[in-house]
């Protein structure tokens, strides 16, 4: 790869076969049944014992998929030009991708264990906005990735390409304690618990039989002992499972974020981390559209936040814009990072939800929620089930206080903070979310009023960014209009690029 001359078709390292093999496995697991059908048919047709069949099947599977991977590698070629990179791929269906350098938002790399040994990386081009030009470049040297990075102007020119770490001190390093925090705060862990719920119940049933047996066995007066041991078994099982899933979750965090470091390298924000596969994500500071700070229940308890820098998303794939995520930060570091990332204008855009500087939105915000999400469904359900359930259907009315409580909660958490250069919107139900943005990067603004809002002279403002929209509901109509006019002025008089 050292001999990369422009305008020449070339292959990547043969180790790219690994990448294609992995990709194939992913495709197979996604459409498991369809892809395995021919193999199953083959194994079925092959006469013999079950064990032989399985062995033959496994061998056939391996041979077929690795030859596909090799073919994929063989037909994968790329060409580096002055302003773009051309990729030709596909065994049966040929595909040519033309990735223009000025369309590339960022060059992210991944490095698995084998690649790390050979100093190779897989490049993932992030090209938000332009369709059909998302590409991977598997198994190229690190130096090549760096040269591409400098080519798209992502970092200061560096002639000593190929050295591992950027020569700047990391802004943030995550240690094993943070891995535990990430693992515990992972929402997926909660989902696992939800799925596990019924399972736990069944386990409870089994425990009942255990208890019953113990009772029978210790029929003379050892009754209490039996119950006690039964309860102990259930408790141990539940705690054990919770611990197990916490461990799995922490292991997942370790896998993705081990040795996580965050840098600002010139004008580029970079992060890398990962135990087996090393993920390296980079984002040009100017391309950051919104900065989000989130805090779920567990994070609140741990007094930490998750920070994500969002850039423009492509219009084809909704929400597929690459974000740079800092999985766990303290309030202090989050503040410091915001000042660096939104410099120089973002200084006063305090994102920490407990800040005094947030203004509340109108309490009328709760009314429509209570009315349409609370009262209306509650009454409808009560009336609908009256015939079937009788007065028991009055229980549906309990929905109302729950919604009132939630609406109040969500109103209390909603807030906004305006500065001369940007705004922060705070929201949340259980946890907190806050999004900070700069006016000059706004794409469009709209002010909306419902009939009721008109009567109360209120309005909702929605600010559309290239990374998604931010809505400030139920503020004074006059404020909304003034803010809109001010944002328009800021955008229209801005001479700076928004991306």
């Amino acid at each position: 790869m050292k001999t990369t001359k422009p305008g020449q078709w070339q292959r990547t390292s043969p180790l790219a076969v690994l990448f294609f093999f992995g990709k194939l496995l992913k495709v197979i697991t996604k459409n498991a049944w369809q892809s395995l059908a021919p193999l199953v048919a083959f194994v079925y047709a092959y006469e013999g014992e079950l064990v032989t069949k399985i062995v033959v099947g496994a061998i056939a599977f391996f041979v077929i998929s690795s030859s596909i991977a090799v073919l994929n590698y063989w037909f994968f070629r790329f060409q580096l030009n002055d302003d773009s990179i051309l990729i030709r791929q596909g065994v049966v269906k040929k595909k040519q991708i033309d990735i223009k350098f000025d369309r590339i938002q960022g060059i992210n790399t991944q490095q698995n264990v084998v690649y790390r040994y050979f100093g190779l990386v897989t490049i993932n081009f992030d090209t938000a906005g332009s369709s059909g030009s998302e590409g991977n470049l598997p198994a190229v040297t690190r130096a090549f990735a760096e040269s591409l990075r400098s080519k798209i102007g992502e970092q200061r020119d560096r002639d000593d390409a190929g050295h591992e770490e950027p020569d700047v001190d990391p802004l943030l390093t995550l240690g094993w304690r943070d891995m535990v925090r990430i693992g515990l705060a992972d929402r997926r862990a909660l989902i696992v618990f939800a799925v596990l719920g019924p399972l736990l119940e069944r386990l409870g049933d089994d425990a009942d039989t255990v208890i019953a047996n113990t009772i029978e066995q210790a029929a003379d007066g050892a009754f209490r002992f039996g119950v006690a041991s039964g309860v102990a078994i259930v408790t141990t099982a539940v705690i054990g499972l919770i611990l197990l899933f916490a461990l799995i979750s922490i292991a997942a965090a370790l896998l993705r974020y081990h040795n996580f470091e965050l840098f600002i390298d010139g004008n580029t924000l970079r992060s890398h981390g990962g135990l087996l596969t090393r993920h390296e994500v980079s984002m040009h500071l100017g391309k950051i559209q919104t900065l989000r700070l989130e805090q779920g229940l567990v994070m609140r308890w741990l007094n930490r936040f998750q920070l994500s820098a969002r850039q423009a998303r492509s219009s084809q794939k909704q929400g597929k814009g690459k974000n740079l995520i800092v999985p766990v930060v303290t309030a202090e570091v989050a503040n410091h990072l915001r000042e660096l990332l939104l410099a120089p204008e973002g200084d006063s855009l305090m994102q920490i939800p407990s800040s005094e500087r947030f203004s509340a939105i109108s309490p009328y915000y709760m009314r429509s929620h209570i009315l349409f999400v609370g009262l209306l469904p509650a009454i409808t359900a009560t009336l609908l089930f009256w015939q079937v359930l009788g007065s028991a259907s009055l229980a549906f009315l309990l929905w109302l206080p729950a919604i009132i409580l939630l609406s109040y909660q969500s109103w209390q958490r909603a807030g906004y903070l305006l500065s001369a250069e940007g705004l922060v919107r705070r929201s949340g139900l259980v946890g907190y979310r806050s999004a900070a943005l700069l006016y000059r990067k706004v794409q469009r603004v709209s002010v909306t009023q419902s009939r009721y809002q008109r009567r109360k002279d209120l309005a909702s403002l929605r600010v559309y960014m290239a990374s998604g929209s931010v809505r400030i509901p139920y503020i004074e109509h006059a404020t909304a209009k003034q803010l809109r006019d001010y944002i328009l002025y800021k955008v229209e008089s801005s001479q700076q690029a928004w991306h």
Binding site: Q443, R444, S446, V447, Y464, Q482, D485, E492
Partner: protein, 172 residues
């Protein structure tokens, strides 16, 4: 030279006394015709099934009543909603307002426009109308869509906005 004059908030251009341009009045007719065609198609289909299966009309009277009840507001709504829609093309942005119950005003600065598109369905062309779509980054299709402009107006606006977009890029 770089200048950074102080801006008094109350001197910012606001939208209080804008002269809103109306959507072409033929657009209401076009919407009505489209809806009438749909209603008629449903009516014919219902009638056909009635006759084929041989259900007496009196038995499906309620169905017809419901269809009628839906058709009346559906057909008269454009007369209320279309005059409420309006747009203003300013020097640096385009503003569009719409809505009767939920009113919204959306503004798109020209220096954020990615591309502009006009389109027309056969029915639009029958009424000599066209739709203008202004795209900005990160949007999910049709960021600002003004339907029912006169075909000439739409084309003029497209050219004007493109010119403005080009100018804002050169200024960079």
């Amino acid at each position: 030279m770089f200048q950074n004059p102080e801006v008094a908030l109350h001197h910012l251009p606001d939208m209080e006394d804008l002269e809103w341009q109306q959507i072409h009045p033929r657009y209401a007719r076009r919407l009505q015709l489209e809806r009438a065609l749909v209603v008629a198609a449903i009516a014919i289909a219902t009638l056909a099934t009635n006759l084929l299966i041989g259900v007496p009309l009196s038995k499906v009277f309620m169905l017809w009543l419901a269809l009628f009840a839906v058709a009346v507001p559906l057909l008269s709504w454009p007369l209320i909603s279309v005059p409420r829609r309006g747009y203003v093309v300013r020097d640096k942005d385009i503003v569009f307002r719409s809505g009767v119950i939920w009113r919204s005003v959306t503004a798109v600065p020209f220096n954020r426009v990615q591309h502009v598109e006009t389109s027309s369905t056969p029915l639009d062309r029958k009424f000599d109308l066209a739709n203008l779509q202004v795209f900005t980054a990160g949007g999910s299709g049709g960021d600002l869509r003004i339907s029912g402009l006169g075909a000439d107006t739409a084309e003029q606006m497209r050219v004007y906005i493109l010119g403005k977009v080009g100018a804002s890029i050169e200024n960079h």
